[in-house]
Symmetry: C2
């Protein structure tokens, strides 16, 4: 049972040769007494012709869609007239056909897969994965894994596996719990991330670590979340922020080059969190297109338009000419994202019409000059508290991108860094300070002194996000390596020594035994593959995903289990009071 | 903060240069006013000299064991007299020393690590991992991962991740369960292996798959078991057994060459299960040394020695001269492994003395001729039912290996295949037939017809084990790809259609939609690394292992969790009746 090659690896060099191919019957057509088969393997499709007088005919005649077949025949160019200068220019004239296995009629037509209800695709995932599109995505993902491994191994990173059955630390997301049979009444937790363990590996002196780590978060699943996901996790010792960014840039460039043949221009542009929010209303701005906000707070300050006169900021974004309908959609987006409304103006000659035009007579020239809005073009405004105003306008900016396909003229991939995130955020609900990344993120050296002062909200973290086409594909930070700074951080977020020890005791102990300066990053690997492959959702880049209820519709998990299994692990289903 | 290189990468080419090193203080000695530091990083140790008049002295004087330091100085050869022709021939004369972090006194002396109680080492794993031995093992493991990835990617295998939260199929070992919050009363199971999923990937047409897969089995842990372990999992379509063995041999050879620089001779020798058991009393024989059993059943048949006269088999193993004490130890081993006893003879001239010598007068010459036992040498016998007799003598053979270090003159690594395992075993306790590997293993094509007959016990499976130095490091099989054969297999092990569907329904459905011939294998990756690195136990090749109670002594897992967490996932601790 030996095939000559995968279909996609046959080329004109093989023309005239006898080849053996194995795969699935993608299509069968009978024409003028001949049988035409389209044979499929993961690398492509091949037209196979079986002539009526061929010894292969009888066997070939048994073949139906999705049957598994082995075909031996002459590989040749198709007649001149039928060539298109692609892989379809070749055909095989069968001398021998062998049915390797039969197939029931699939519940859906594979060629129409993308239009099939996702529940059906997930239930019959093994059929859905036969579609070329799905297979190309999984092949791309596999290539990315190999490229990552090659680069990091060469750069002295050690692949180390961290525990999957670990300790529950109620922090961040909800844990998945695993009852212990050997210690009844006690539980393991599945890791939300290897954060503490990778820092312990640095304390252990391993210097550089990586792992494609499966992480688990029991959250209510949004459209594009999975209960478990894969993170490319890395950590380095004796580094400062620039050292991490530099090696990350070369790694991502290597992956794009190896997997897609795309050269990413280095270094990646860097924006501060403040710049990103202020200019694009997002901490992961899509920079494939520009449309940057312009600040016009000063122009409206104390003006006749009361709504803007006293606002902390007034931001404006220029857009093409808009229909009433588009206008309405954008306003809805702005409101959904926290704005009171979306004021607008339409340029008309040296002035404006519509919207708030009656208020801008005096500042029309300056508005035109600052925004460069064209004749007939639209200006869109949000105003109010800074973060709220820019966030809403940022959502409007992305809606405009989708409306007018603004990204189409930009680069296929745009990567950038967002830096200088705040170390601490004030949680309005809890009325307390909390960390923005995680409590182990190191503050900027110049800002450490602000811990516990009125100005601790101004502290910058040594944290960085890697942004690709408007997606955050990576995030990390330099970590706190001094016990006293770690203590200040816990104090700043109102965590008492007792609470800190209860949650992270073993880690705080470790910090005292000679911790090197270190930092790292984690990539959302599923999301990276999604963007690289142009897939529509995370579920398209995972072989066997869960649906958004956390269910595996093929294997039917989760499922009830036998009472005996529960008794053994010392739990029972909770019946409430 | 830039180091010149890791310590181990410095060589005579750098002599005379100013270097910057970063690492841990392995040792400090003060001698004649000078400070001598041994600086350690993952690659090695470097002696650092700080002279009293050096600007670095004051800072250096703060350093204690396990402090983290950065040292700048002149890298040079040590005085002629002190050189040993190894890495220790170099030293650094410090011009600048910087304390990067302090360290508490470690709870144990790292240099004496291997003598420290394992519980202490596990509790302070981040310190235990600072020992060169541990770091070299983890580096070897990481190299093996990179070598595997490189080879399999080149050979067209796709790395695919299979589900971690899957369906409980009570079969084989006990499942670890994960309560579902979104479906209260239902549970996920952590995968015991990706077996069904990798077969589904073949059904999906992905052709070749691999994954370093974490697997979970909630079994009572023997000394060298972990609740979760790592398997190098592979599956191939359109292959027969020889195709799998061939690519596996090249893969293992590649890994040994890349990681250890060791060339494994190909192809690996092949033994049938029968040959392995009959000659060495094990289905994973250590073939670094020969000592093969000799069958002497015929010599004792109907003889005066009644214990042997009627035995199904009489097997003999020749050994060196033994002390009474050794004799006793070996007899204990034989009995522990199911033998009634361990009969013996000592060669004396052309005959024998001791043990059962009074019964062998007539066959002495034949015994000497067949076994080639030397003057003073010992013959050790087991007799009785075949499997019991060879298994016990196999244990004696390994005990002799350890007593006399028999493997020392053999190759450092010996790899072989064991083939032709029985398809079915009769389970005496259950008084029922069961599978030997798993229920998806395909029988030998010539034996399929024996299903359901009196002779089904003679069926050979298309199963293969990869054996290294007496350890099973891999096992796999060609799988059943025809639904009707799968049904015969389930029938043979007494699994009704209903039971089969309840356990594997979705998989049995998939089998009907065009399943290619396929087969695969899984390596016990932890065990492979253990043998390659010469580590004493599986725990030595895992960064953060559990102890044999399944506990993580560092992170303190498993642990009690908050009642609220349990209520959310719909379970409560079971209080029994």
């Amino acid at each position: 049972m030996k095939r000559t090659a995968l279909i996609g690896h046959l080329d004109s060099a093989h023309a005239g040769q006898t080849v053996t191919l194995q795969g699935w019957v993608n299509r069968r057509r009978d024409l003028g007494g001949l049988i035409f088969l389209e044979l499929r393997d993961r690398s492509g499709l091949m037209q196979v012709q079986v002539e009526p007088d061929s010894p292969a005919f009888a066997e070939a005649d048994q073949l139906r869609a999705e049957y598994v077949a082995e075909i031996e025949g002459t590989f040749q160019l198709r007649p001149e007239a039928q060539r298109k200068g692609d892989a379809g220019d070749f055909e095989v004239i069968a001398q021998r056909v062998k049915v390797l296995n039969a197939a029931k009629t699939p519940p859906f037509e594979l060629s129409k897969g993308e239009n099939v209800a996702e529940d059906i695709r997930l239930k019959y995932r093994y059929l859905d994965l036969r579609r070329g599109e799905m297979q190309r995505t999984l092949m791309l993902r596999s290539k990315a894994v190999a490229a990552v491994t090659e680069f990091l191994d060469t750069e002295g990173f050690l692949q180390v596996e961290t525990p999957m059955l670990t300790r529950s630390t109620p922090e961040g997301a909800r844990d998945f719990l695993v009852p212990s049979r050997q210690s009844p009444g006690e539980f393991y937790a599945l890791p939300q991330s290897p954060q503490l363990f990778k820092q312990l590996l640095m304390i252990a002196g391993l210097d550089r670590y990586y792992q494609l780590a499966r992480c688990f978060r029991d959250e209510d699943l949004r459209a594009d979340r999975q209960p478990d996901f894969t993170q490319l996790d890395m950590e380095l010792s004796f580094v400062e922020q620039d050292d991490v960014l530099e090696v990350q840039e070369r790694l991502l460039a290597h992956v794009f080059q190896r997997v897609l043949g795309v050269e990413l221009p280095l270094p990646f542009p860097r924006l501060s969190y403040r710049q990103a929010m202020d200019g694009y209303g997002s901490d992961k701005p899509d920079l494939r297109f520009d449309s940057r906000f312009v600040d016009v707070t000063d122009l409206f300050r104390d003006g006749e338009f009361k709504a803007f006169a006293g606002a902390e900021v007034v931001k404006v974004l220029s857009a093409p000419e808009l229909t009433r309908k588009q206008q309405g959609e954008l306003e809805r987006v702005a409101k959904q994202n926290g704005a009171g409304g979306l004021a607008w103006l339409k340029r008309d000659g040296d002035g404006f019409t519509g919207g708030i035009s009656k208020f801008v007579g005096g500042i029309a020239a300056q508005l035109i000059e600052r925004t460069g809005v064209e004749q007939g073009g639209t200006l869109l405004f949000t105003a109010g508290e800074w973060k709220r105003a820019v966030t809403a306008l940022g959502a409007v900016r992305l809606a405009l991108r989708d409306l007018f396909d603004l990204a189409k003229d930009g680069p296929r991939f745009h990567v950038s860094w967002v830096l200088d995130f705040p170390q601490l955020e004030f949680d309005e609900d809890a009325q307390a300070w909390t960390y923005m990344h995680h409590p182990f993120t190191a503050p900027h050296p110049d800002d450490v002194s602000l811990f516990g002062t009125q100005r601790q909200g101004e502290m910058r973290a040594q944290a960085y996000d890697l942004v690709l086409n408007g997606y955050e594909i990576g995030g990390g930070s330099i970590r706190i390596h001094q016990p006293e700074v770690q203590a200040q951080m816990f104090a700043a977020i109102g965590l008492s020594d007792e609470e800190a020890r209860a949650k992270f005791g073993f880690f705080l102990d470790a910090l005292e035994y000679g911790t090197p300066p270190h930092g790292g990053i984690a990539w959302g690997f599923d999301r990276l593959v999604m963007v690289m492959s142009g897939a529509a959702s995370i579920r398209e880049v995972i072989a066997f995903p869960k649906n958004n209820r956390g269910a595996d519709l093929m294997a039917l998990a989760p499922s009830p289990v036998e009472a005996g299994q529960l008794a053994e692990v010392g739990v029972q289903v909770y019946r409430g009071q």
